[in-house]
């Protein structure tokens, strides 16, 4: 999914969304979801803007953003490699997948490669335990994954 490249200005989509939700109850969480959809994470400058527009303290926004694991405060790579660490995937060797990705990319979980291409994220059950262990990249789901298949998967995105 394409994300906004300028992390300091509100996108048109976000502006329209905030306008729509501004006076509705429960707006903050909805707007933060939209922010993450637009930018891939919650950029600091955008959090300040949302605070200003909604007249909500920045502390409240950070309280919400840091409470839910869903929200990210760091910009993820162009391709965020989400390795499922749910029970089934864990038992089927998800931890090995993560170790292998760390070796291949030279970064840890939560990190992003210097070229901004990849980031690794450990996530909880993605809901397809029959395919364990599972890795999700964007909208693509890689099931029954093994460490030796990982270079091939990465190459696909490296060239793309």
């Amino acid at each position: 999914m394409a994300t906004a490249t300028d992390d300091t200005t509100l996108t048109e989509g976000l502006t329209a969304f905030i306008e729509e939700w501004k006076d509705r109850p429960g707006n903050l969480i909805m707007i933060l979801h939209k922010v993450q959809e637009e930018y891939g994470y919650v950029p600091r400058a955008i959090a300040f803007e949302v605070a200003r527009i909604l007249d909500v303290p920045l502390a409240k926004i950070y309280g919400v953003v840091t409470f839910y694991h869903f929200f990210k405060l760091e910009k993820p790579g162009d391709h965020n490699l989400q390795v499922c660490m749910g029970t089934a995937c864990y038992l089927k060797g998800a931890a090995d997948l993560i170790t292998e990705l760390e070796t291949l990319l030279g970064i840890g979980v939560g990190g992003t490669t210097p070229d901004g291409k990849f980031s690794i994220e450990a996530v909880r059950c993605v809901g397809c335990c029959g395919l364990a262990p599972v890795m999700v990249v964007g909208e693509e789901v890689y099931g029954k994954l093994t460490t030796d298949k990982l270079p091939e998967v990465l190459a696909k995105y490296n060239n793309g």
Binding site: A47, P57, L58, A59, Y62, G63, T66
Partner: protein, 584 residues
């Protein structure tokens, strides 16, 4: 009022509907232990220490947040409950550094007291500590997240009582830390340094920066002439640190203790409070009578936490702020000029110290260049009431048996109007006592201006000053200020007459007597007793109005000329600037 019949440990009791089990138990001489609960705050049942049993129910409920129900029998203590509570303490202990000896709260820590009362002698759970850096970015308070037990009192204080929102729970579960948003340090955040977080923290996770050694260094330095001033609100609270009831007036004993500690001159901030009234009262009269003197309402500016808040949250109100400095800063400025000249000491050799009920005062002394009116820092050091109490104990001074002494001339005498600066409504009342004379030429028949007294968070009233009805408003507790500021803003934007002529704001509940640097365990009843002490000090004063203080008359005759003079402006007035909520 509907009443409810209940039992506490089998004893019949009738209480008002809506009473919590915790409060009901107090009526039965039973103390249910608490930790996250504080009477100033909404109970939110975080810690689980106050669990009690409801007879014939399998569940334990939290007494702080559960209202009594007709007919129920509550068991507050039995061996099982005592064991459950002990486990709660032990679990918290496993995440809390065992550093009592070096902790700022050693001897006043609520967690330490619980561990003592529960007979904790071991650490049954493997300790797991968070290694997080201390935030020492402000001159006022220190935040030590390692010691935080996540009770959330400071967050509630900062958000609900003070409407500042500098502190928030960041992350969740075991990772939770209490800190400003966006990785900001306290001095980069909206923090106004009021220190209410430190006054409410049950442990040593937020505390005042300790500057007591700097005081000792100054008195040890023979080239320094150490001049100390004591703030109005400190005199009715310091006794608490020595086991006295709140509200006992210990002015003369404080002077004596400070002389024993090595101070060369003892002054009283109350003198400068009188000076403030001369300047601020004259400024008010000028604004009332001449449009060129700045807009109405005039808003008080004595409280540094409030000025910081206004610069951050209400920069559009800057023209309304009285340009008069706070009494502490005025006292500092005249100590290093008028007084230094009188005693023939060079300005650079004067070391001026203030004993304050307030942590924000530590910040105020370096807030901008106006605080160097003498050519040097007008104030060198601020100690809170808590720090002074520690110094007195450390110096082996038997505070309770001291003979009261007098302050030094020529800037030590004060009127009753000066002393009431320490309570909400006091600056307003003191100003009215003098403004009445400035406007009408006549003294007030009754100097007690009861219309502006009281403990309601927001109070409005009309006070007759000659022909004129002065419309006034008083707010204390920062969260109460929004209502009044919004009214002023709306009237201004609509082009209407301002709703008030004069507004007094103090950041802390009850005013300075409830300041963030006052002795621990402050609640509504403690505040009420300190307030009563202040009004007693006022009533006992032979001079009740600032303009009648002989030393005030003398400083204008000898040095300043008249209120709002060029000299006054140079030394006693300041400016304000808009500041961002976050620095980066």
């Amino acid at each position: 009022m509907a009443m409810v019949n209940i039992k506490i440990n089998g004893h019949d009791l009738q209480v008002e509907a809506g009473t919590t089990i915790l409060d009901a138990a107090k009526a039965c001489q039973v103390k249910i232990p608490t930790l996250c609960y504080h009477p100033d705050l909404e109970p939110w049942a975080a810690c689980g220490l106050c669990v009690v049993k409801v007879e014939n129910s399998p569940k334990m409920v939290r007494a702080c947040a559960t209202a009594v129900v007709e007919g129920q029998n509550y068991i507050t203590h039995d061996p099982e409950l005592m064991e459950v509570r002990k486990t709660v303490v032990e679990l918290m202990q496993s995440n809390h550094p065992n550093e009592c000896l070096t902790c700022a709260r050693n001897g006043s820590c609520e967690f330490q007291t619980l561990a003592e009362e529960f007979g904790i002698r071991e650490e049954p759970f493997c300790p797991e500590l968070k290694e997080l850096p201390r935030d020492e970015s402000t001159p006022s308070i220190v935040l030590d997240p390692r010691k935080c037990i996540n009770c959330g009192r400071c967050v509630q204080v900062c958000q609900q009582l003070q409407d500042v929102w500098a502190l928030e729970f960041i992350n969740r579960g075991y990772e939770t830390v209490i800190q400003p948003a966006g990785g900001a340090l306290l001095n980069e955040s909206p923090c106004i340094k009021c220190g209410q977080c430190s006054a409410h923290c049950p442990v040593g996770a937020i505390y005042e920066r300790d500057d007591t050694d700097r005081f000792l260094d100054a008195v040890r330095d023979e080239t320094k002439h150490v001049a100390v001033q004591v703030a109005p609100a400190t005199r009715v609270a310091i006794g608490e640190a020595f086991g006295l009831e709140p509200g006992e007036i210990k002015t003369g004993e404080m002077y004596a203790a400070l002389r024993m500690l090595g101070a060369d001159a003892i002054f009283d901030t109350n003198f400068a409070a009188d000076l403030t009234i001369m300047e601020e009262g004259s400024e008010l009269v000028a604004r009332l009578t001449d449009d060129n003197h700045g807009p109405l309402p005039q808003i008080t500016s004595c409280c540094p936490a409030w000025t910081d808040y206004m610069e951050k949250y209400y920069p559009d109100m800057i023209p309304h702020f009285s340009t008069a400095k706070s009494p502490m800063m005025m006292q500092g400025a005249v100590t290093k000029t008028y007084y230094a000249e009188k005693v023939n000491v060079e300005r650079k050799d004067v070391f001026s110290v203030a004993i304050m009920p307030c942590t924000a005062k530590k910040y105020e002394i370096s807030r901008d260049d106006n605080m160097h009116a003498s050519g040097y820092p007008d104030m060198d050091l601020v100690l809170t009431t808590r720090e002074l109490a520690r110094l007195i104990k450390r110096a082996g001074i038997d505070f309770l048996n001291l003979k009261p002494q007098q302050a030094d001339s020529p800037i030590g005498a004060y009127s009753g109007a000066g002393t009431i600066f320490g309570v909400t409504g006091g600056v307003m009342e003191a100003a009215i006592r003098t403004a009445h004379v400035l406007v009408t030429g006549d003294e007030l028949k009754d100097v007690n201006v009861s219309a502006v007294r009281g403990m309601d968070g927001v109070r409005m009233g009309e006070v007759a000053v000659g022909e004129k009805k002065l419309k006034v408003a008083v707010a204390h507790g920062m969260a109460n200020v929004r209502q009044i500021m919004d009214e002023v803003r709306e009237a201004r934007e609509a082009g209407k007459e301002p709703p008030y002529h004069f507004i007094e704001v103090m950041a802390c509940k009850g005013g300075c007597i409830g300041g963030g640097g006052q002795p621990y365990f402050t609640d509504e009843s403690v505040r009420a007793k300190r307030v009563a002490g202040i009004y007693t000090d006022d009533e006992k004063s032979t001079v009740r109005c600032s303009h009648q203080n002989p030393e005030i008359k003398k400083i204008y005759e000898d040095y300043l000329g008249e209120p709002m003079s060029h000299k006054s402006h140079e030394l006693l007035h300041t400016t304000y600037q808009p500041r961002p909520l976050y620095q980066k």
